[in-house]
Amino acid sequence: MAANPMKIRANNKDGVTEVKVLISHEMETGQRKDASGAIVPAWFITDLTAKHNDRLVLGAEFGTAVSKNPYLAFRFKGGAKGDKIVVSWKDNKGETRTDEAAIA
């Protein structure tokens, strides 16, 4: 759990829940060089899942082209105030992080 917590916002409106996630991650492409000319190794999130009360609502696979500190927004039908949204990611170094938020 090296990374900072994710920021998760989930809002239900007219039966549709909109989820916005802001993740803290370097998302290094493996193509950038540091000051000494050495290539900075790739370090990026590969897999992400979002669950609503243990039901998968979004699966995502990222490549290196996703921006640093990735932002993600999606909508699903259902969800009620107070329900739990759990987001987990895994990067190419095997590090993982899981955070949760309640639907507002």
Binding site: M27, S67, F74, F76
Partner: protein, 155 residues
């Protein structure tokens, strides 16, 4: 003598156990990474990426929309969204034609999740951005050119 033999046996089995643990530790992330579509993400051209995703040559569709700025000042952070009114969309992918690897991200949408996702991507240069959508088992595509004034891949 007997005691020594016991110590050797003990340390021997200890090392073996460590080996097993290490192997388990290595195998675990390796297996998990197999889920990630390596071939698709490492493909360089659009055609290779589509092939790796099993999309073949998708039909252009007016029911798929790519949203994003016409001109992105900073290629490191380009907001891109994909939405579609097609039924039963199970997969959405964002491809950037002129990036070193075309595929930026792909999303799996279970039933009940709308075909409407937004994220931010890096773009090395002005390029066509493609949205690939799988609806009822068929692939559809839409495109939008985004001009980049400052590349996102420079050091």
């Amino acid at each position: 003598m007997n005691n020594q033999r016991r110590t050797v046996l003990k340390s021997g089995s200890g090392a073996a156990l460590l080996g097993i643990l290490a192997a388990a530790g290595i195998i675990k992330p390796g297996m998990a990474l197999a889920e990630w579509n390596k071939a698709a993400f490492e493909a360089k051209s659009m055609a290779d990426t589509l092939k790796a995703l099993g999309a073949g040559s998708p039909a252009d569709s007016k029911d798929v929309q790519v949203t994003g700025p016409d001109i992105a000042e900073n290629g490191a952070v380009v907001p891109v969204g994909v939405s579609s009114t097609l039924p039963n969309v199970t997969m959405v992918a964002i491809l950037i034609e002129k990036n070193p690897n075309a595929l930026a991200a792909s999303f799996t949408l279970p039933e009940g999740t709308e075909a409407n996702v937004q994220t931010r991507v890096k773009m090395g240069q002005t390029s066509n951005v493609y949205a690939l959508v799988k609806s009822d088992g068929k692939f559809f595509m839409a495109t939008k050119e985004i001009k980049v004034t400052l590349g996102g891949c420079g050091g």
